[in-house]
């Protein structure tokens, strides 16, 4: 087995889109010469398979990279690393996984030819021009903000008819007939043909966006928070419409949202994202009732619900979102996790960040930090007394549990040795379920607090 758990779990599935280790890193430029000083890891190693005919929900908080991932899938953002395959059958999927596992130099001539052929036909970035055009037509997007995504100076007939003209599907009066057909499909009508977007309410504008997305009979639609700008009563109308369209046209959806109630209602499977990575993947109901990652449980517990269910203890997220330029080692959630232990990847940075907020006076006395690795460092302080205080602060910090021996001040220097932990990966826990929680991977169940 390769490390790509989720790809493995669904090997025998016809997929619309398959992502392998996809990364989107944005360079951070600094100074006069605009030297690159680091990368914002918006999406950092995502494996995901979107099975045909289903709805995959992608949930996460703002800034977790879910919209960027959606844009990568739509072909609007080029990934800086990884592979993106489109329309692989189950057999082709197996070939891709098999050949990828072989180092490029050791592949047989047959495999090489097959790989090249697969790339030409299915891999985004290596596709032929015609295949890419086909991909573009098959994969459509409905954006969150229907104000911004509809051109205010175009009539509905031009907005919805444009994809038809671009792809030469229709011309002249044919376009109008097709547009009316599409508008009726989404609950509008011929009377709306000659109006501008501002003449519609939010729900109606979202219907126009959906009509435009459906113009070319796509098989895959990316819904990027399609209802978060709408009121609940209108949201219900749009969600019903989306389900109806899916059933009639056999669409596949990637449903990106931060609203757990909506995703629970709409999605067959969900992927929970945190800080550029997928924390948990599995069938929606199972993820809700028996989460296998602390973050999924926190999201569920934080979501206000009208139902009188007793969830028992509510888990909460502490602190703030870490810097995506330099994400935490080990499990990315551990500095904020209610059930973190020494296994979870506490690093020198975590320890120092704790000191900075808990004891700013001590933090100011740091002269230098010499890191051998992320887990091994010597902190030079300006005097002996503050070094002793520093050692005490670090021992009592949450990162203290991961110290292999207590931090002791030796003169002005405090040495830290923390338990070395590999970065967490999404691994299968049981059938259909995968989680990136290091403790869950060890125990097979979500750790209790």
């Amino acid at each position: 087995m390769t490390s790509t758990s989720q790809a493995d779990a669904s090997v025998a599935v016809d997929s619309v889109v398959t992502l392998h280790d996809v990364q989107v890193h944005y360079p951070v430029k600094e100074g006069l010469l605009q030297r690159v000083s680091g990368h914002v890891r918006a999406v950092d190693g995502v494996d995901l398979t979107i099975p045909r005919g289903q709805t995959l929900g992608l949930v996460g908080e703002s800034g977790c990279g879910k919209t960027t991932l959606g844009r990568v899938v739509a072909g609007l953002v080029a990934p800086t690393g990884g592979e993106l395959w489109f329309g692989l059958t189950a057999d082709q999927h197996e070939h891709v996984n098999r050949i990828r596992a072989i180092a490029p130099g050791e592949r047989s001539a047959e495999d090489q030819a097959l790989w090249r052929q697969l790339e030409r036909e299915h891999r985004l970035g290596s596709m032929t021009k015609e295949r890419h055009r086909e991909y573009r037509r098959n994969c459509q997007v409905v954006f969150q903000d229907s104000f911004a995504s509809l051109n205010p100076r175009q009539l509905v007939r031009d907005i919805v008819g444009r994809p038809l003209r671009v792809h030469r599907e229709a011309s002249g009066s044919e376009v109008d007939a097709r547009v009316v057909e599409l508008l009726e499909r989404v609950g509008l009508g011929a009377q709306h043909l000659l109006r501008y977007p501002h003449q519609f309410s939010g729900g109606q504008r979202q219907r126009i966006s959906i009509a435009r997305a459906l113009a070319l009979n796509p098989e895959f639609v990316i819904l990027d928070e399609p209802t978060s700008a709408l009121d609940v009563s209108v949201q219900a109308q749009i969600l019903n419409l989306l389900v109806e369209l899916q059933q009639d046209l056999g669409l596949t959806y990637l449903f990106i949202t931060h609203d757990l109630g909506v995703v629970q209602h709409m999605a067959d499977d969900i992927a929970v994202m945190y800080l550029g990575q997928i924390a948990e993947y599995g069938p929606t109901d199972q993820v809700f009732f028996d989460p296998l990652h602390p973050y999924s449980r926190i999201l569920r517990d934080s979501n206000p619900s009208l139902e009188d269910e007793e969830v028992g203890e509510r888990w909460e997220l502490s602190g703030t979102v870490p810097n995506p330029i330099n994400p935490p080692r080990g499990c990315r959630l551990h500095p904020r996790c209610p059930v973190a232990t020494d296994l979870c990847g506490w690093s020198v940075t975590d320890a120092l960040e704790h000191v900075e907020t808990a004891a700013p006076a001590v933090f100011e006395h740091i002269d230098a930090v010499n890191r051998s690795t992320d887990f091994l460092a010597e902190v030079a302080m300006s005097d002996d007394a503050s070094a002793a205080l520093m050692a005490r602060e670090i021992n009592s910090s949450p990162a203290g549990v991961a110290l292999t021996q207590p931090a002791i001040s030796n003169g002005k220097v405090v040495s830290l040795t923390l338990r070395q932990v590999d970065d967490a990966e999404l691994l299968p826990i049981r059938e259909l379920r995968s989680s990136a929680c290091l403790r869950t991977q060890q125990q097979g169940v979500l750790p209790s607090s």
Binding site: V232, L239, V243, S302, P304, L306, E307
Partner: protein
């Protein structure tokens, strides 16, 4: 307190004039709030909930707005009553921030981007707690309008601040220390771990949740009797939302503040409000204890709103959406505004304005299904089908 109400909004009407006509954004809204109580005002976009909230502090811009009817009465500690809508500006200014304060929806827009957080909070103390700050700094409080007072109020110019620091160094230091202590303790109260560091930051340097905490610290700085929270968590993520709501709740428990909580999210109401008022098109359509209203909604709109929220057991694609859209309120006819979307609507609903009817202890519903034909002076056939006795829940 002899009487048990803090705020009484009576028949409040707010109009907005535009070239297209006059729209009645708030139309005869009445409610009463007790001290320490949490009332949630729930409704969809454009139902007038924010305008109602702003009216309580007289913050609706005039023109284009106009208070067309009613009163907003605030009960003072000595038992007297101030009508906020007709009081002189000086009195209202003193009430704002001091007795009634407000948290706005978008903390990014409501904080001044050009001032540090510490300075913004200092303004509140300078305006409303001047005497206390000067006393703590050991400075004389007797000369209003002097340089010292101006500096404490953060209103002095750059030059006078510099001269003051130069010639009265001790006083300047004492004042700064007293002010910083107050600001830091207000920030620490909202769970900010390192208030001294945050005080020196500008709003853009803080995360959304942190900015909302600063807003809450600012709003609660003077221990107001009433806090108007206008969608305080709409711009935040769910995990942050849970923490902010918990914080507001804890602070309320500790200080006994009454909260008027404006939201579009009915699911938040269950946990955080004692009573709920549902608004539609400028009117309150249903009001009552929140658990009762959520369990057995009586007004067709409340029923529709609750059914539209996706639940775990709703079959996919079978959400009960409310048909149609919110009507235009520009020169609206005198009728039940929900009639055009209502499944029960009958002829009587289109010619009369429904009045709040008491259907059980503490519950009001504005719907003709709870009225009798004689009251409206119409024949029985024109009335909608009467509602069953209260207690019959949804579904």
């Amino acid at each position: 307190m002899t009487e048990d109400w803090l705020l009484k909004v009576d028949d409040l009407g707010v109009q907005f004039h535009s070239p297209r006509g006059t729209s009645q954004a708030v139309d005869g809204v009445s409610f009463t709030m007790k001290p320490h109580e949490t009332l949630a005002l729930v409704g969809e976009t454009g139902c007038g909930k924010s305008v109602t909230a702003r009216s309580i502090l007289r913050l609706v811009a005039q023109p284009p707005g106009e208070y067309s009817s009613g009163s907003v009465q605030l009960r003072n500690d000595d038992g007297s009553v101030t009508d906020i809508l007709s009081a002189p500006e000086r009195v209202v200014r003193n009430i704002r921030g001091n007795r009634v304060s407000m948290i706005f929806q978008d903390p990014g827009k409501a904080l001044n981007p050009a001032l540090t957080v510490g300075r913004q909070l200092a303004e509140v103390f300078g305006e409303h707690r001047l005497g206390m700050v000067l006393e703590k700094a050991g400075l004389p409080t007797s000369r209003p309008g002097g340089t010292l007072v101006k500096i404490a109020q953060q209103r002095a110019g750059w030059l006078s601040v510099r001269l003051f620091q130069l010639f009265r160094r001790d006083a300047a230091r004492a004042l700064k220390k007293a002010m910083d202590d107050e600001v830091a303790s207000a920030l620490a109260d909202t769970g900010i771990a390192n208030p001294r560091k945050i005080m020196g930051s500008y709003p853009h340097e803080l995360s959304g949740g942190m900015k909302q905490r600063v807003m809450i610290a600012q709003a609660l700085a003077c221990d107001p009797d009433l806090l108007v929270a206008d969608e305080p968590t709409t711009a935040l993520d769910v995990t942050i939302q849970a923490r902010i709501l918990r914080l507001i709740h804890d602070l309320q428990q500790r200080r006994g503040t009454a909260i008027l909580y404006i939201t579009h999210d009915l699911s938040l109401v269950k946990e955080f409000a004692d009573r709920v008022a549902v608004m539609y098109a400028g009117r309150i359509v249903e009001m009552g204890p929140s658990d009762q209203v959520l369990k057995s909604p009586q007004h067709p709109y409340t029923q529709g709103l609750l059914a539209a929220i996706p639940r775990a057991d709703t079959p996919r694609g079978e959400l009960e959406a409310i048909a149609g859209t919110v009507p235009q309120l520009v020169d609206a006819p005198p009728q039940c505004h929900f009639a055009s979307r209502c499944a029960f609507a009958a002829q009587a609903c289109h010619g009369h304005i429904p009045q709040p009817t008491v259907v059980s202890e503490g519950r009001l519903v504005s719907c003709f299904r709870f009225s009798r034909a004689e009251e409206l002076d119409v024949s029985a056939e024109e009335m909608p089908q009467p509602a069953e006795a209260i207690g019959g829940g949804r579904r």
